[in-house]
Symmetry: C2
Subunit: 436 residues, 2 copies
C-alpha cells in the first residue's frame, strides 16, 4: 500500500523531531500502522537556515499555502504555533479535505470549537494529542481509556517551565528570579517567559482537559489563571516544613455548583505521588467515579517527546484510513503478519545489579574470602553494609550491592560462596534496577 504523505507547517524543534522520529522508526511504524508514513513537504520561514534534521526528500517552501494545497499531501501537520496564520491554514487544509494533526494548544483552546465543526462538516480528522502534556497520551486516556467513567476532576502539572523553577527553588533554596535566569540559560524557559510562568500555556491545556473531562465547550476565557511570580523561596521552605510541596497546577473539577477551571500555584501534601513529579516533567491526575485516581506521567515538552505524540496521531489517522473500522488497532499493537520472533534472552544472560544478603561468621578475613570469589567471577561491588553482631551472636548480616553483571556470573559466585565455611545461612539474592 502506498505511504501516507505528510506535509509539515513549520520545521523548528518539534517539526524536526517529527521528521526524525518518522524516519528513525519507519519500519516500526509500518509494522504498527500497516503502511509507511512519509514526510514529503515542509513550509519554513527561511529555507537556507540550518536544521537539526536532514531535509533531503522534503520539498521546502516558504509558502505554507502550498503545503496545504499540495495534492500529494494526505495529512497536514501544523507546528507553527500561535493563533494566526495557524487558524486560517488549518481551516484551509480542512476545506481541501486534508486531515490535520496539530500540537498547537493555543489554537485548540481558542478556536477548537470552530475547527472541529469544520472538520466534522468536511469529514476529515483533526488530532491534537501533542497539545496537552507533550508525550503523555493523556488526551487518549481521558477520551477513550476512561470513557466509562463519570469524571470528577483532572489536575495536572502541565507546564514544565513552572515545574522546573519550583523544583529548583526547593532543591537549591533559591529565589524565583535566580532560578528563572538559570532556566533561561539552560533553555527550559523562553527569553520572554511570561507565556509559561504567568500560567497562560497551562490555561490553554487546562481548557482542553476540562472539555474532554466534562463534555463542555472550549472556553479559555473562563479559566482563572495565576502564575508563579508571587511564590517566594520562603513559601517553598515553609510549605516543606509543614509537609507540603508547591506545584503549579491546572485543575478542572466537577462540583455541585458547576465546573471549576483554575490554574495557580498549589500546596500539595508531600507524600502524594503528584508532589514527587519534579523538574521539567509533567503529570496529569484524572479521577473518575469507577477508576478512582489515576496518574499519567512523562515529558511534557521537547522535540522528541512532542514528536512522539504527533507521530502517534499520524499512526491513528493512518490506521483509520487503512483498516476496516473493527480492526483499526491490531490486537498486539503490530500487524499480525509483522510480528517478530525476537529471541527471549535466557535468564543467565540477563544483566542486572544485585543485592546479596548473607549471614556470616564474625571474624577477620571473611569479607576478603567473599570479595575474592566475587572478583574472580568478574563481579564488582558497589556498596557493602555490615552490621554489628546482635548481643551474644557469633555471626553478622553482610549486605552487598553489585555493579551491573550477568546473572550467570552471580549464580556461579553464589554456588562457590555457599561452600564457604563462614556462611551461616542461605544467601538472599534480589535484583536491583534503576529506571531514571
Amino acid at each position: 500500500m502506498r505511504p501516507v504523505r505528510v506535509g509539515l507547517l513549520g520545521l523548528g524543534t518539534v517539526g524536526c523531531g517529527t521528521v526524525d522520529v518518522l524516519r528513525r522508526n519507519r519500519e516500526e511504524i509500518i509494522r504498527r500502522a500497516g503502511r509507511a508514513i512519509e514526510p514529503v513537504a515542509a513550509a519554513v520561514r527561511d529555507p537556507a537556515r540550518p536544521r537539526s534534521c536532514p531535509v533531503d526528500g522534503l520539498r521546502l517552501t516558504t509558502r505554507p499555502e502550498e503545503v496545504v494545497a499540495d495534492p500529494a499531501v494526505d495529512i497536514v501537520v501544523e507546528l507553527i504555533g500561535g493563533l494566526e496564520p495557524a487558524r486560517s491554514l488549518v481551516l484551509a487544509a480542512i476545506e481541501r479535505g486534508r486531515h490535520v494533526v496539530t500540537a498547537n494548544k493555543a489554537l485548540i483552546a481558542h478556536h477548537g470549537n470552530e475547527i472541529f465543526a469544520a472538520a466534522h462538516e468536511r469529514g476529515v480528522m483533526v488530532a491534537f494529542e501533542a497539545a496537552v502534556a507533550g508525550g503523555i497520551p493523556v488526551i487518549k486516556a481521558v477520551r477513550e481509556g476512561l470513557a466509562g467513567n463519570c469524571l470528577r476532576q483532572v489536575a495536572g502539572i502541565i507546564n514544565g517551565t513552572c515545574n522546573y523553577i519550583l523544583t529548583a527553588m526547593r532543591e537549591e533554596g533559591a529565589e524565583f528570579e535566580a532560578v528563572l535566569a538559570e532556566a533561561q540559560r539552560l533553555g527550559y524557559a523562553e527569553a520572554d517567559p511570561s507565556f509559561d510562568i504567568d500560567g497562560i500555556d497551562a490555561a490553554h491545556k487546562l481548557t482542553i482537559l476540562g472539555s474532554l473531562a466534562f463534555g463542555i465547550p472550549l472556553q479559555y476565557e473562563r479559566v482563572h489563571v495565576e502564575g508563579i511570580r508571587g511564590v517566594s523561596r520562603a513559601d517553598v521552605a515553609f510549605a516543606a516544613e509543614l509537609g507540603y510541596r508547591i506545584k503549579h497546577l491546572g485543575i478542572a473539577r466537577r462540583t455541585g455548583r458547576g465546573v471549576e477551571l483554575r490554574v495557580h500555584p498549589t500546596l500539595v501534601p508531600a507524600r502524594e505521588l503528584i508532589a514527587s513529579v519534579d523538574g521539567v516533567m509533567n503529570a496529569v491526575l484524572v479521577e473518575g467515579d469507577a477508576v478512582g485516581t489515576t496518574l499519567f506521567y512523562g515529558a511534557g515538552a521537547g522535540a522528541d517527546p512532542t514528536a512522539s505524540a504527533v507521530v502517534a496521531d499520524l499512526v491513528d489517522v493512518t490506521r483509520a484510513l487503512t483498516a476496516d473500522p473493527g480492526n483499526r488497532v491490531p490486537h498486539l499493537a503490530f500487524q499480525p503478519d509483522a510480528l517478530a520472533d525476537l529471541a527471549v534472552v535466557p535468564m543467565a544472560e540477563v544483566e542486572s545489579r544485585y543485592y546479596l544478603r548473607m549471614q556470616v561468621e564474625d571474624r577477620p578475613g571473611v569479607l576478603a574470602e567473599i570479595a575474592r570469589i566475587l572478583g574472580e567471577e568478574g563481579i564488582s561491588i558497589e556498596a557493602v553494609l555490615q552490621k554489628e553482631p546482635a548481643a551474644g551472636a557469633a555471626d553478622v548480616p553482610l549486605i552487598m550491592l553489585t555493579h551491573r553483571v550477568r546473572e550467570g556470573q552471580v549464580e556461579r559466585a553464589l554456588t562457590r560462596m555457599r561452600g564457604l565455611a563462614c556462611m551461616r545461612a542461605g544467601i538472599c539474592r534480589i535484583r536491583l534496577e534503576s529506571f531514571e
Copy 2:
C-alpha cells in the same frame, strides 16, 4: 439508534461492577459513544445467589452457551476467568460473529494468539484492556498513544497483592507471613494466594505487555517468574537503609541479545517515582526512544476499576460499530450535539484550603487580632507556624493553613487583615489541595 446489547459471562465482583457502571453512567456513556450500552443477559453458576448489583432487566441463565448464542447480544463480555471453559466460549462467540470484551489475563497470555487469529478471520473485535493493570488504560497507551516510538522497556507493578504485602512489610516492619494473613483478612489476597504471590498473575500480564511493546507473539512459557515468598523483613529494612525499596516488578526489555521477559522482586532507588507506588496500587513504566520515560498509575484491581476498563472497551467497540472511521472518537470526547454547558464556578465560589504567609509585628495580641478576623469570616485554622524573629528584627513571619473554605471568604478576611496596624508587608495566599 438502538442500544448496543451486552451479554455477560460471569456476574461476580467484576461482572456486577460492570453492570453498575453501565447503569450509573448510562447518560454519560450515551454522550460519549453516541448510543446506549445495555446489559441484557448474564450467565451465572447460581441464579439464586445474592448479587452486589441489581439484576432486573437481565436474563439470567446457568448456561453460558445461551448467552453466546443469543441473537439479541452484540458483545459478549467474558468475566469467568481461567482457561476453560473461557477459551471455548470466547471462540464460540467469535464464531457466531459476536464481538468480545474480556478481563481474562490468563486466557490472553495462553490462548491470545489463537483467539486473535479467529477474530481476524471472522471480522469481529476482541478487546482486553481490563486484562492488564485494571483501570489503568495502559494497553491503549502502549498500542496507540506511544505508537510512534521504538519501545525500550516496560516495567510494572502489576500485582496489587504483592505490592500491598511489600508495602506493609516496609511500613509495619512485619514479616511476610503476618502481612499475608492480614491481606487475606482484608480481602487483598485470596485464600489460596499462590497465583498472586508466586508471580503467575504478574507473568500473565507481562506476557501481554511484552507482546504489545515489541510485536512478539504471546509466549507465557518463556517468562522467568519469581514471587515474593523469599523476601524477608530484614531485606526490606536493609534495602531502605541503602536508599532502595523492594517492588515486585514485571520487566520486558529490549536488549542487543533479544528480549528479556522477567517477573521478580526488585530493589528500586527510593527517589524514583515507581518506588512511591504503594499499597494495592499498580503502575506501569514505559520507556520509548522518542517519549523517554512515562508512567501510568492507578488501581489495578477491584470491581469498579476493572469495570472502568471493561466499559471503556465497550465504548470503543460501540464507537467502531457506530461512527464512520474518521469520526470514531469525538474531538472533545463527547458527541458534538451532546456537549453540556455546565456553569463555570466563579472563583469567589471555589472551595479550597489556603496557605497564608504574613510578616507581622512581634508583640502580644497580634495572633489574636488575626484569628478574630478569620473567625468572623467563618474561616477555621488548621495549623499555625510562627518563627522566632531574626536577630534584631521587630517582626516575624506567621504562616497559617486554613480548613476548606470559599475563596470569597478568604478574600474578605485578607482585605480586613491588610488594614491591621501589625501587618508589615503584603499577605501571600496560596491554595492547598489534596488528591488522595
